[in-house]
């Protein structure tokens, strides 16, 4: 499968995506505008809390083309963060107390300066998260030592595995992905990742493989741990459940399968004001491959930069100016505020 971008699909135009998302609103407000729900919850305008996480999207290049990918990443995407932009991020990071740097993509490891970046962040003493798609570890011999490299720099590995069954995983992420993911998990386990007491953290990410919301994070974690241990001898630390947001290739799936309206209604009906108060954009700054600043990775993929007068590019980074901004919201934000909430760290509301 090619990316929307390579197929010249209308959905590759983020303006088109935003029109789809706001259409129901325009046609008589059948779906309540998200801003209205936030206002009712006393959260409008949505303001940042303390900046805890800098999330760097180091490129859209990926060895996989998952059907739900909100980045529209794939082997045909060439956008990649340069070392110069990385240096700007590091300079900004050094001037702050930001605790966590969250590296994402695409497959972040495919950026030629990825290892250099990890070494630099590690030298600054910040916690590093790498959002590893697992299969990259076994995709090419040059990546086989990634588990050791991660371990050397104290990286917390967060990896997508949609399901403990091969069929459900492959349906979302491509034929053979489950088997390759299991091989990669074994390599991570072999250097201590996910093993209790090792201090090497391996979390798995569960995205529903279809037009439904994630169930209880605790219950799914229990099932995943039991099945992966029993059937594959694999261990991990935590399972993070993430709701699929109705953008990019998941939006394509929703529209093509006829599930768009019912899925949106499901999200709207499940709006949770407690989850809305805990959204990750309040404590995260998202930086695009070209250094542009966004409130979250989803806004980034919809070309919705941080609101002016906050700085728009990492070269102009100012924590004070950014902390005064109003976070940009839209109908897609229902995805992060439904049910137990959804963030890059999983559910945001305790069950």
């Amino acid at each position: 499968m090619k990316s929307l971008h390579a197929r010249h699909d209308p959905l590759a135009d983020t303006g088109f995506q935003l029109r789809v998302l706001t259409q129901a609103e325009a046609e008589g407000a059948r779906l309540v505008p998200f801003a209205q729900r936030l206002r009712e919850s006393g959260l409008l305008p949505l303001r940042p809390t303390t900046l805890q996480t800098m999330q760097l999207n180091v490129g859209k290049m990926c060895n996989q083309t998952c059907r739900h990918c909100h980045v529209d990443a794939g082997p045909d995407r060439t956008e990649i963060m340069t070392r110069q932009t990385m240096q700007l991020c590091l300079d900004a990071l050094a001037r702050t107390d930001i605790e966590v740097v969250d590296l994402t993509g695409g497959a972040p490891e495919m950026n030629p300066d990825f290892r250099w970046l990890v070494e630099q962040i590690s030298a600054l003493g910040r916690q590093i998260i790498v959002r590893c798609n697992l299969t990259i570890i076994v995709a090419n011999p040059k990546y086989h030592d990634l588990p050791e490299f991660f371990a050397r720099h104290g990286v917390r590995v967060v990896s997508s595995l949609p399901h403990f069954s091969a069929a459900r995983t492959d349906a979302q992420r491509g034929e053979g992905v489950f088997e390759r993911s299991i091989r990669a998990l074994r390599m991570l386990n072999a250097v201590g990742y996910g093993v209790e007491g090792s201090g090497r953290m391996l979390d798995l990410v569960y995205n529903p493989s279809g037009a439904f919301m994630p169930g209880s994070q605790a219950a799914l974690e229990r099932d995943f741990k039991q099945r992966l241990a029993r059937e594959h001898g694999i261990v991990f630390n935590s399972l993070l459940t993430i709701t699929n947001l109705p953008i990019s290739r998941f939006l394509e799936y929703l529209l093509e399968s006829g599930n768009y309206e019912s899925y949106m209604q499901k999200l709207v009906d499940a709006y949770n004001p407690v989850a809305a108060a805990n959204v990750m954009c309040r404590s995260t700054l998202s930086i695009g491959w070209d250094g542009q600043l966004y409130d979250c990775d989803f806004n980034q993929q919809l070309d919705l930069p941080v609101a002016a007068p906050a700085p728009q590019h990492i070269r102009d980074f100012s924590e004070a100016a950014l902390s005064a901004r109003a976070i940009v919201i839209g109908q897609h934000c229902y995805g992060c505020t439904a049910g137990a909430g959804s963030s890059c760290g999983g559910a945001t509301v305790n069950e």
Binding site: H163, S165, A167, R168, Y206, P208, G210, F212, M213, P214, G215, S216, A219, L220, R222, D223, F224
Partner: protein
């Protein structure tokens, strides 16, 4: 206009409205219902699969829609869901067949 079927999928979302005409009993039913499906000696996922099987046994299209979605949400896969349907089929089939013993008893009683 005449409906094509007695069942309308949109009616599932109106299930809660049954409390309008008998709120006390309706509310008690929903409170009980919520309690039944909580994690207990059985997990929520196991209860959802039981509900899916029962939905097929009682042939309730609303319940089949609801518990297919719910089973997926709770992490069940297609193999588990189809096995649940087979459990329902086995019990329904078995229930019909076991009455064959009654038929045989009666036939033996009547026949020479």
């Amino acid at each position: 206009m005449e409906k094509a079927t007695y069942y309308n999928p949109a009616d599932l979302a109106k299930f809660g409205n049954i409390t309008e005409w008998q709120s006390e009993m309706g509310n008690k039913f929903f409170a009980y219902y919520a309690e039944v499906f909580k994690d207990g000696a059985l997990t929520e996922r196991e209860k959802s699969l039981i509900a899916l099987a029962v939905a097929h046994a009682v042939q309730c299209p609303y319940c089949i829609d609801a518990y297919t979605t719910d089973s997926l949400q709770k992490g069940a896969d297609e193999a588990q869901m189809m096995e649940a349907v087979h459990v329902a089929a086995a019990i329904k089939g078995g229930a019909a067949l076991v009455h064959g013993v009654q038929m045989m008893n009666k036939a033996k009683e009547l026949a020479m």
